[in-house]
Point group: D2
Chain length 412, copies 4
């Protein structure tokens, strides 16, 4: 890999992280999944997880994200990427190290745009892992892939804003310790299209906030964090809860979504890599028609192509991370679009192949593959569906070139 | 379509079926899904379903499969195909008309290979819809895509056979009314590779039969029929329960799997068609970036390509059905392989696109799409994974041609 | 196949055609290709071809296209399809039977829209194979995929029309016996968008007509018919040469392009089928790494998938032909779009795989594959690029469905 | 990009190279292509090319390849990669800088394995660009993708070796200044499979060497270098011409093919990048159905996906180059396989899309695209077809993992 060699510090952190995963995370994986799928325990926190978090904190494996901030571990995006990949190999891995979405993005927003008072109230507990938070943006009634469509109203009334609207795919909302929503809504209906929206903090226990139901992804409810449909009816919060100023919601969203997108991609690369490894192991242990799967051409084809796709996506993700570090999230926009287009679809394909090599077991509770597939599939829709990034990327690329000269149209 | 025009009788049946679906099935779909996903009711029969079955029987919409048999509705495979497609548009549709797998395949086996006594005991109740049945073939410990790998033992002991083995993906096994297994196992370990296995009837309440657990498919348990892992430990059944004779399991499997495969494909074409229709409706109702999705190029591309793929798969399925009717299941082998290769993967792609057009809702409980996706994905593994059919088909095709002449190797 | 059994007459014609191909066409194929690629002979007619045409005529294998017309062989589109496939297996096959584009389409136009005088002058010689003709539509200066963009001017001046414009991809223009152009141009610049264009007959020897250069396709010039860039400068023709009336160019184009598109698709299915057969033969004759290619998984995968794609495209083409026969070209519009989307891309993929299995020889003059690839690739652009048909098809499909109901947007 | 910043020296070279391309190469491109396609001049050297080579040498843009050697420009593979990409944007670009295949690979062999005498005789003139050379490996009669199949005989007879065999796809063989072949053939028929072959130098003017014919690639003969079919009949060369020792042909081939493969990939990335840029320009200059192509979704989709694929392939190629520099060609084997699998297929797809956006012109002599397509397609077959690399890569990957543990097979 052409990554500049990791510093001693970072590679030492990575080793520690890998050991932690090996010693404490993989061993409980099957048990956590069973707990989270069981109807009785699905919405509760898995008891040992808190204990692991304490250990992770003690091991200096905590808040590894958050570049350019005094709150995090002081790692650049490029340094964080392989760590995120390692954590991502287990679907609840990032949570143990306080690196899971949507809390990470919310902490970034609070670190960047929160007043000291708001930071003390919300950022501190989040950084310490005491509470969970949700990001309320997508709405059932409009194509939220175009964020300008968002209709929830945030209306000034004296010293308060009053919020009315319905959100969904609000991850973490059903979590028993979810304490905070960052909500995007419309403050200025008559302003220019990208100046109409604002972001505001809404305490989860505010009057008028109702988690209507959890949404499922395929058949998974993804508890205990889950994905809520949430009604906000006449919810009243102090004016100080509005971030950065009215009409600046898009500006904040831009800053938030970049890192969030790339974090998901890093995790998915970890999952895809693990699926590839599982495919290799499985191919070695099964025989059909007298020949080990590992020697059958179509299986080899699946394995080799998967490896090519994973390595390319990983390199692209690192390139995007590096660009963010050097030139800022905004200038890395096109590379972020690229990894968002590439990585989730790649992960879906690779995991789909791994399932095929695993036979029936691959879609069942016996392997991490079915849950991994579900995660990859939903990320193709989250933070803007692939197609939105495709369109934006093409627009930026085309802009860089002059039109081709016209062909002669005369008769001679 | 170039199908010979349906007879008046068949097109009248089809109209009646469509009306039945419209009047009774679509209206309860959301409710049935909620019932079958709810932890409390997941393993129970949805109360109104029995009532609908009575109505279906009264309407002459019962046992529509079973060509060449006095037991069915007297339809050919080609005539049955569009009916199966219509029923398949709802995932529990076929069940209402007693046309659901694996009961259909089991009834075919009993109709073809059962003695009058066995038919009276098991075929009658199945045809009347009183009991359910399972087909116990796949095993967790071996690559069952190569059925010769199957290890369960069926050993003669006096007037009984004693069965030991572990099966999984035994659909219907967890069903409260599952009364019968047709099990494939090894009777003659030293016989030639395809003469070692036999099929035998095992009452579900026989001593030593244990449904160890239900398997999930992407989080769905597919209750109340479900997919069981089943242990058979020292299960003893009368020798008369063995079908056709020792060593003839493969012969029976060949006959059984052809129609089973094509029925799944017909249903999946119905689901894909419905997904296409949902995509069109959705594209018409959503606006992003100021333009209805229905006028956006990438959405149109998804719709047009889906239509092309569906129509091609449908025509291929009809061609296979027609070949089965004219020349028998065995001679239609290559066409059956083709539709098995084509239809489930096509359905998975089309439904995946429909999910993408539906946004987050597409993977949730709000649309039929997520369950449809899960069904298409599992059929790519069931009845032999795609790859096994690809290899067999290629082998047969290659066999038909002489090798190309060698190129000159001499120096001049 | 579910095609209604061919009548005795048609299957007798097909047998005769296959024998003719075997006896006279395949044996000269390599020689014709060498002749047509050699710089000295590229633009001449291969001497024996005329002789073969005489024999084909004598054998009743002449003008097999032209349904619903007293001029042709009286075959329906559905009956013609398998014949076109058989002729299409050799790239110059159709020509021998006077069934090659663009003459076929031009004869259809003349048969439908020509006055008796024009028919006597031009249709007779074309039907007898004495002259060749070209269709001058596409222009270098505009995106001709949108025919409304066409800019060539056809201006009334007394008893004449005067034509000025530049066309390209005018197949047959460079042919030594090309006698006639059917040209599409603008007569009524201020009329509604689809009423501005007309079609007019232009003798190839009219003053002001210049074949500027032949265009190549990859490195093939496709002589002796070729694809001309043609300048029309002040070309004067009698007013009677205008077909059907001013502003009716689109109406004629619609009628012409349907059959033309499906004929290309039928030929490409023939080429793809032959590529598949060549792949099988080749796989059987080569050994790599100690195993015949025919037993290697990736080769089998290429063969099986190709067979699935070919059979599906064939069935779709037959369905389109049948629809044209029953309901007219206009009502078969969507099916024609579908085959235009599916068949050329399918042929390109299948031939690409066959090339891969043939190694280096596959792209060279030693096999028909490289020329076949070139033909398939150009048809993805001819008669409207794939993308135009995709968009039109989707528009028609979407139109059939009502929008999905809106989701609730209120807070509760 | 995460490449370590280029040194001042290298980025200065790159600037100079880009200026040279802009000033001297692009301006003659159309003229060179016309010259090389014209039957009369196809096999001659384009007159101005020699002049440009003198200028390139004077500008220090000469022999930029050849890492770890006193003969080249002293650049690492990683440093050379972007230069090769820039040269590769024009199909005859590399030749101007004495960086074209197969001469580059041959010079590497001579630099590594040639005796001082052989180096003086052949390497010097090649480095100075005075002569051209060919690599005679592939044979028409055997699947040369498995090099162990190669049958040409190299037999000791006194102080000579006598060579008999037929080779093809021997690029440069038809070139008027081709002076040398490096030939692979069998010296030790009874040795272990990978010790049977040797490499030997054969002067092009040796008695018994006949260029039988040039091979075409989709109608292009690729003159003046071309691809020869060459007969070697009783060709006698001194024993000193055998490189490294009998039976060491595979060892040399391994060393040669790595850099050769990656150079082709770098050039193809340059061509693909240029195709992408052409697509953007074209999309901006054409309007269909009232909307610029640049604003149509399917065109944007083609552009965005192409950009994602190119950037990923480029990063992978750089990673492979870096690995070669750090750990040697042999240890970079898997990464070299990966880029060989990825880059040519990527280039073919991207160029295919660019052709589609260019309409008919895209396959003609009017754009570089058709020739670029032909180059990408042939590289999927050259130096081992994709499939061989897929199989080898998978084998190496699988080897790294232990088999998965077996599932329980007992009844309980």
């Amino acid at each position: 890999m052409i990554v500049p060699a990791a510093t001693t510090h970072v590679s030492e952190v990575h080793d520690r992280l890998r050991r932690f995963m090996d010693d404490y995370v993989y061993p409980i994986e099957a048990d956590v999944h069973a707990y989270r799928e069981h109807p009785q325990t699905r919405w509760k926190e898995y008891p040992r997880l808190e204990e692991l978090k304490v250990m992770a904190k003690a091991a200096g494996l905590w808040n590894l994200f958050l570049p350019e901030s005094e709150h995090g571990a002081g790692l650049s995006n490029l340094e964080y990427a392989p760590l995120a990949e390692t954590m991502g190999r287990v679907d609840f891995g990032s949570e143990i190290f306080n690196c899971s979405a949507p809390d990470t993005g919310n902490m970034e927003i609070l670190a960047r745009y929160g007043t000291p008072a708001l930071q003390a109230q919300w950022l501190g507990p989040l950084l310490r892992g005491e509470i969970r938070s949700a990001f309320a943006m997508t709405e059932p009634a409009v194509a939220s892939s175009d964020a300008a469509n968002i209709e929830a109203r945030i209306e000034r009334d004296g010293d308060s804003y009053v919020i009315n609207g319905r959100k969904w795919w609000t991850s973490n909302a059903p979590h028993p310790r979810c304490a905070l929503y960052i909500l995007m809504g419309k403050t200025n209906a008559t302003a220019p299209r990208h100046m109409q929206h604002s972001m505001i903090l809404v305490p989860a226990n505010a009057e008028g906030v109702t988690v209507v139901r959890p949404l499922s992804v395929f058949g998974y409810e993804d508890g205990p964090h889950g994905h809520g449909e949430v009604a906000f009816c006449g919810v009243r919060v102090p004016v100080g809860n509005l971030l950065l100023g009215e009409g600046r919601g898009f500006e904040i969203a831009q800053g938030r979504l970049g890192p969030g997108r790339i974090h998901h991609c890093m995790r998915l690369i970890g999952l895809a890599q693990r699926a590839l490894e599982a495919m290799c192991r499985r191919a070695k242990s099964r025989v059909a028609f007298g020949i080990p799967l590992s020697e059958q051409g179509v299986v080899r084809d699946m394995i080799a192509r998967s490896a090519c796709e994973i390595d390319q996506a990983r390199l692209l993700t690192l390139a995007a991370a590096d660009k963010m570090d050097r030139d800022g999230n905004k200038n890395a926009r096109d590379l972020i679009s690229m990894i968002k287009i590439v990585a989730p679809a790649m992960a879906q394909s690779v995991i789909d192949r791994a399932i095929q090599v695993h036979g029936g077991g691959g879609v069942s509770q016996d392997h991490f593959l079915a849950r991994a597939f579900s995660y990859a599939r939903q990320i193709r829709l989250a933070d803007g569906p692939d197609e939105v990034h495709v369109m934006a990327l093409a627009r930026h690329l085309i802009r860089q070139y002059a039109p081709a000269p016209a062909a002669a149209s005369a008769c001679r």
